[in-house]
Amino acid sequence: MPNLDFLTEVGLTHYLILSAVIFCIGMAGVLLRRNAIVILMSIELMLNGVNITFVAFSSYLGKMEGQIMVFFVLTIAAAEAAVGLALAVAIFKRFKEVNIRFFENLKG
């Protein structure tokens, strides 16, 4: 009988690993996707990965600071999404294009 403790005993490590996995998935999205709006979504994924870490630590260490941080991160993430989408929309309205590589042309 193999040791299946890691399956039955869920602890802080599990949450941390889960959050790392979500963070890296989001990271991959940011690095690899073409669509600017999907990239924004991937950023939200990354932020959520981090949020899980915060809440996990907060609850395992018995400190509320982690949750406050998450509260603030949530707010800022929403603000970021609003502005990011507003930018994307402004560009899309003009150029009918959301490819992230197209955004390079906006420099200068």
Binding site: L74, T75, A78, A81, A82, L85, A86
Partner: protein, 121 residues
């Protein structure tokens, strides 16, 4: 922890919905007619599919909603703890700090109204 219950009922409802859909698809008779499957267009033949120009207002409303929603959510912890703060003598301080926050909120709302971002015509 009610999470189990929530998951249970959610799954149950989804299964129930799917079952209903499945039953309905089996029960109804089917007569094939290409016109029937066209998008409903008040009787005239459907033109370009759904490339409709839609006002950016909807999207603007959604953005403003997010922002004001968060501001409102910030009031929730305040609202639950306000009585405690009053009891510990910090009521006025907390109320003032909330008022500063609200002032910013009201200014934002006022600006949106003034800049006609909320005008639908």
């Amino acid at each position: 922890m009610p999470l189990g219950g929530i998951l249970f009922i959610a799954v149950f409802v989804i299964l129930f919905g799917c079952l209903m859909l499945f039953l309905a698809s089996k029960a109804g008779k089917r007569v094939y007619d290409p016109v029937k499957f066209e998008a409903y267009e008040c009787g005239i033949p459907a033109q370009e599919k759904k490339d409709t120009k839609i006002s950016v207002k909807f999207y603007l409303t959604a953005i403003l909603f997010i922002i004001f929603d968060i501001e409102i959510i910030f009031m929730y912890p305040w609202a639950t703890t306000f009585r405690d703060f009053i009891q510990s003598g910090q009521g006025l301080f907390v109320l003032t700090s909330m008022f500063i926050f609200l002032l910013v909120f009201i200014y934002g709302l006022f600006w949106e109204v003034k800049s006609k971002a909320l005008e639908w015509d």
